[in-house]
Symmetry: C2
Subunit: 64 residues, 2 copies
Amino acid sequence: MKSKRQEKILELIAQYAIETQEELLERLSECGIPSMQATVSRDIKELGIIKTPLKGSAYVYELP
Amino acid sequence: MKSKRQEKILELIAQYAIETQEELLERLSECGIPSMQATVSRDIKELGIIKTPLKGSAYVYELP
DNA sequence: GGTGAATAATAATTCAAC
DNA sequence: GTTGAATTATTATTCACC
């Protein structure tokens, strides 16, 4: 179910420093919401989630 | 030169709806600042530039 | 309209060189 | 420290299907 998954995605990126969609997939799976990379990519686009470069280190997904 | 290129990158993303790093490379080249994709990727990270999903349509690079 | 599987497109990193 | 060339990793899209 889309809305439930997207809700959880927002929770997860708020809670953890998620660096890739693969990592997000793992978290979702742990929450009992298995999904595919393509789906998560679409969700990210729909939710307006961005991948922000952190100073010097890595990238994290977050809301603007 | 790095600082000049990064300055121009900020100008370009403010002025145009740039959707990919390739597109940014073309713009830079037109401005007399030829560069490589790897370099632009590093600049984007350093400058904290993000790729924002626009509602329904494409993605654009911009400052947070 | 929503999804999975596969693919294409895009972007980040590595490595060598300067 | 900076860059180009190449590679790898990551992400967006396409296509078939439901």
